[in-house]
């Protein structure tokens, strides 16, 4: 399970960084989204990977934390997802405004000169 998760984070992070460095705004926004997914999985994994543990209190398990999954990273991921969603939406608007105002989807607002 660890190796699958690590690979997933690595591949998404790598693709995200690659796309982020591309010159078109659409590639950049997809890169940012992929990176955000990778980061969210990473935060999740920081609560340790466990199987079959209760996410919320189960009366029969009592108060022993060994029976429960760590709730804090889940709360962090939730916050990060919401914030990431909002900023991506905002960036999308800026991207469209830039496209409309400059007539190109290059991140610098103008096409590189042909050589």
């Amino acid at each position: 399970m660890e190796i699958i998760l690590a690979l997933a984070i690595g591949i998404m992070g790598g693709s995200g960084v690659y796309l982020l460095l591309r010159p078109r705004t659409f590639q950049v926004i997809i890169g940012l989204s992929l990176l955000a997914y990778a980061v969210n999985l990473f935060i999740f994994s920081m609560g340790r990977l466990n199987l079959g543990r209760a996410p919320v209190i189960v009366p029969s398990h009592g108060s022993n934390p060994a029976f429960y999954a760590d709730p804090l990273p889940q709360a962090l991921v939730l916050t990060a997802i919401v914030i990431g969603f909002a900023t991506t939406a905002l960036f999308l608007v800026v991207l469209l405004a830039s496209r409309g105002l400059t007539g190109t989807d290059h991140v610098d607002g103008r096409e590189p000169e042909q050589e």
């Binding site: 340790r48 960036f91 800026v94 105002l101 991140v107």
Partner: protein, 540 residues
Amino acid sequence: MSGWLQHLPILPVVLPLFAGAAMLLFGETRRRARTILALTSTIAQLVVAITLLGMSGGLISAPWGSDVGVYALGDWAAPFGIVLVVDRLSAIMLTLGATLGLATLVYSLARWERAGAHFLPLSQFLLMGISGAFLTGDLFNLFVFFEVLLAASYGLVLHGSGATRVRAGLHYIVVNLVASLLFLIAAALIYGVTGTLNIAELALRIPLLVGDERALVDAAAALLGVVFLVKAGAWPLNFWLVPAYGAAAAPVAGVFAILTKVGVYALVRFETLLGDAAPAPFGGEWMFYTGLATIATGTLGMLAAQQLDRLAGCTVIVSSGTLLTAFGFDGYALTGPGLFYLVSSVLASAAFFMVIEMAERGRAIAADLLAVSFEAFGLQDPQDPRQIESVVGFPIPAAMAFLGLAFVLCAVLVTGLPPLSGFVGKFTLLAAAIAFEPGPGSNAPHPGLFIAALLLSGLAGVVALSRIGTRIFWSTERSVPRLQWTEAVPVTALLLLCVALAGGAGPAMTYFNTTAQYLEGRGYVEAVLPGMTVTEGFAR
């Protein structure tokens, strides 16, 4: 009464939140109601901030009985709940933020507020993020407040629209989004190792870590350091800063003057709390050399700048670099003077951005540009609100005399010439650097480097500013700009504050030096986690 006063620390966050949200309900057409609400909320924030400053300085008796106020949200005690912490450092920054907020708000009422939608609510949310970032005692909460202030700043940097702003804003947004992702990785990694996000508990646990865990926390700290250095505008992470600040509307750029200091504040907070155990990016040497490189970039930028707004952006970089270098010294000898310089330079750069916008109003576009730079930075924005002819209120007489005087004062302040507070800040920094003696066996960098960088950047600033000032104020091809009282008053107020800071340099410096002593001690940790002892860094 004192029961209510306990809730004072949450007000700088709650007030702008509710005021901004309420303004959204009013709609764009109810401008009067929005303006009154914004002014009331910002003035209230300033009053609260000054009260907190008095309480943490011991001038007003504080309901929490010591000079560090801890506010547990929902009354969940740290480290389980999220706490807000008011100490001397955060109170200074809070007051500074509220002052800038009020000055730029009054300035924007004359025309900029109408250049686009939702200026007032956004600026309230920006203030909320800034105050929250200064107050919070929790690492993840710090991330959330960073996002609040960034989200608002994304909106504000685009305020007024136009191709130049959107292009600069695009870069600004991408850089900060990536920095936020790095922040998340760092926060998660730190939580994964230490099992806590409370900054005070981190200060207890991190020094006890050994081996692999220590290495992981060092890696996380490196990422965190990168995030804060991006915010602080440190070289080589500052190429977004000059275009974004230059393109932003004047009141926006004015309040942005404190955004870079949020990064500096976070670095100082972690550096002082972790003490000797601070991982590399927060420790002395790294910050020192990064700061030197930042000063160098800013200085070269000032000399190369053709436009005043880019020049002003470069002065922000120089002041960030100076602060990083000063705080990068071993120990706390330069911390007090550094704080003095911080306050003075933030006030001065905010005033500077506004003076520039007023001074450039009457000029034919591109009159001061070389042909090359005109081509590079694009044509006149068709939607530039500088072109708005409708003027509310009474234009003030002798506008040019006022602007010239204000420009000279700003120049004196940012370059650190006598007699204003910029000089006091730089002079005390230099004096502390000369008197600085590295501890035995430390391979601390030489203070001479810092002294040389500070003096050279000041000289370059004088050259660049006098060159551009000559072209603007002694040019014959210009019309006199029309100014409003509401635009002149905030600039005057900011400059008068700097004059007052120079006049009251003695008491102010005592306050800042006491702050430095407090930062050196363990007052923060003891106030947040009274009586807590930790025997193991690793939590599981």
